[in-house]
């Protein structure tokens, strides 16, 4: 089933086209990767979907319903949760309280939210750090809190914006494991990533953006082999290396 459908989404900022007629479909239980060079319009596209920056033209459908330009909190209530590239953990609150805020999306009772949050903390491996102040933890943990918080809202579609950016290669491995665990739980994941080693092994399909427009779409192999993509983003050498590994 088509969970998310983008139909010719365009977003312009004072004449500059950040997204040009981007059409993407994300099906249920898929992991779809979104890659592209810096400034390709990946985060802008996420913002068009989540409602924080409504598209200039084009439509966004979620479960067949037109959600174009819907407010972010309403989009979340419909079942789409996102994380932010630049972490936005709630400083001054504990890790547990951060995740509770997400869980309060499903319940009016902080007590129930607390129980749900503890489950999510267990799942994401943050349980031992639940009482730490969220402003004081490491970047890896902050990214994990963002993810846990989004998961706690019980979304149908999880949109992850560069969860691995700024992480040490060792830490990336853990992040990949976590994303796979999330997929096993039946979530659909739409993920922006800069680090190719993260995206290639876990994605079912990859969409490539360049200068705001979609230039390629396909399996990781197809995308890595695509000359346009190599030229725009990966570089000739990475494409060779990747096909060699496979």
């Amino acid at each position: 089933m088509d969970l998310l459908v983008l139909d010719k989404v365009t977003k312009t900022f004072e004449g500059i086209e950040a997204n040009k007629e981007v059409s993407i479909t994300v099906r249920e239980h898929e992991i779809v990767g979104l890659i592209g060079p810096n400034g390709a319009g990946k985060t802008t596209l996420f913002s068009c979907i989540s409602g924080s920056k409504p598209p200039t033209s084009g439509k966004v459908f979620f479960r067949g319903e037109d959600i174009t330009g819907t407010r972010p909190d309403v989009v979340c209530k419909k079942g789409i949760a996102r994380t932010f590239q630049i972490v936005k953990t709630f400083a001054g609150m504990t890790v547990l309280e951060n995740v509770m805020i997400g869980a309060l999306n499903n319940t009016g009772s902080p007590r129930v939210a607390r129980e749900q949050a503890l489950e999510v903390l267990n799942f994401t491996g943050l349980y031992p750090k639940r009482d730490l102040e969220a402003g004081q933890i490491t970047l890896v943990d902050k990214k994990r809190v963002e993810l846990a918080r989004a998961l706690a809202t019980r979304p149908q579609l999880l949109m992850l914006d560069e969860v691995c950016a700024g992480l040490h290669p060792n830490e990336r491995g853990e992040a990949v494991l976590l994303i796979e665990k999330i997929r096993e739980q039946g979530y659909t994941v739409f993920i922006i990533e800069h680090v190719m080693d993260v995206l290639m092994p876990i994605s079912d399909r990859i969409v490539v953006l360049n200068y705001g427009a979609k230039i390629a779409e396909g399996t990781p192999e197809e995308v890595a082999g695509n000359p346009l993509v190599r030229k725009a983003y990966l570089g000739e050498r990475y494409g060779e290396k990747y096909s060699a590994i496979r």
């Binding site: 989540s50 924080s52 407010r71 972010p72 909190d73 309403v74 979340c76 209530k77 949760a81 996102r82 932010f84 936005k88 953990t89 709630f90 400083a91 001054g92 609150m93 504990t94 547990l96 309280e97 509770m100 805020i101 997400g102 309060l104 999306n105 009016g108 009772s109 902080p110 007590r111 939210a113 607390r114 129980e115 503890l118 639940r130 009482d131 918080r149 989004a150 809202t153």
Partner: protein
């Protein structure tokens, strides 16, 4: 540092437990304030604590919107004035008893909060503060020029024989003291509950990061409006009480900008976004004002403001969490 055990606690309530730790402080504070006017009978000192209550309540109301939700409102005087004028006007023109006047004032303050909040909550951070500050000024000017409300003279309430019904007591200040005391307890109990409720969590999330809060399903404008309405209602009630306590309401005494900033000052000194901060702030600032005026008279005018300035500088430099932060530090030290 781990603070609380994460398992859900549902222990039965028992007297010894009620008197432990945090609760002990609350019980002692209630006993202290309940006994205070019985021991210290000088009207001057009783009057100071009545003013502490009035400000502790209004500062707590500010704390809901300014502290927990992080929206620095500088038009709290408008709600205070709304409460005061509503109660006085209804009493003088329609002979409606003050108790109903207080409720009417609270409701009208809430309506006003929606009217002010709906457009201004589009503004973020300091722009919201500036907008509300401007609205406060406009409100004062409007009332000054409204003959219905007595213009600059204001409304003088009739002096009636002592009665609980008309909230007038001339033989002793004690009834006023205890009425304010009860309103204070109710306010702090309500905020203690609010802090632990879904609304409390959501307000803190909006303060910490509005965009992240919205992405997690929080309708930020709705929750800010709720906080503003609760804040306005409490301020309106205590404004109504104040009118019946001093028996005169004029735009200079109940609608000044200094009132709004005083509430902010008290919360900052006591600890912004904490339950007890506004009380600590009011308990320090109010007596300071009264005592410098009482002992130095007109010559001491301005001295209190200078002391506040020094306090604010010290707090900004050393303890942004105010007195609440200092207490926390001491507790951590003692626990070691």
């Amino acid at each position: 540092m781990p603070q609380t055990d994460s398992t859900v606690r549902t222990r039965p309530i028992s007297l010894p437990r009620l008197l432990k730790g945090k609760n002990l402080g609350v019980v002692l504070a209630i006993l202290f304030f309940a006994a205070y006017p019985l021991v210290i009978t000088s009207p001057f000192y009783v009057q100071i604590i009545i003013r502490v209550f009035v400000y502790a309540i209004a500062a707590q109301a500010w704390n809901i919107i300014g502290g927990y939700a992080g929206q620095v409102s500088l038009c709290q005087a408008v709600f205070f004035g709304m409460g005061a004028f509503t109660s006085a006007y209804l009493m003088v023109h329609y002979d409606i008893i003050p108790w109903i006047g207080l409720i009417a004032g609270a409701i009208l303050s809430m309506v006003l909060a929606v009217i002010i909040g709906f457009p201004t909550f589009r503004l973020v951070g300091r722009y919201f503060a500036i907008a509300t500050m401007g609205l406060g000024e406009i409100a004062q000017i409007i009332v000054l020029n409204t003959s219905l409300l007595g213009g600059a003279v204001g409304i003088w309430l009739p002096v009636l024989p002592d009665s609980f019904k008309y909230m007038q007591f001339h033989k002793s200040k004690l009834p006023y003291y205890y009425i304010a005391f009860v309103i204070a307890i109710a306010t702090y109990a309500a905020v203690a509950w609010l802090e632990k409720s879904k609304i409390g969590y959501y307000l803190r999330a909006i303060k910490a990061d509005q965009q992240a809060a919205e992405s997690l399903g929080i309708d930020s404008r709705k929750y800010k409006l709720i906080a503003f309405m609760i804040s306005a209602a409490i301020t309106g009630i205590i404004g109504g009480f104040y009118a019946n306590y001093v028996l005169v309401v004029d735009p200079f005494s109940v609608l000044p900008r200094s009132f709004s900033s005083m509430l902010l000052l008290m919360s900052v000194i006591g600890g912004v976004g904490t339950l007890w901060g506004p009380l600590y702030g009011a308990a320090i600032v109010m007596p300071l004002t009264e005592l410098t005026r009482g002992f130095l008279g007109a010559g001491g005018r301005g001295l209190d403001v200078m002391i506040y300035a020094i306090l604010i500088i010290i707090i900004i430099l050393f303890e942004p969490q105010g007195i609440q932060g200092v207490i926390k530090r001491v507790k951590v030290r003692l626990a070691r």
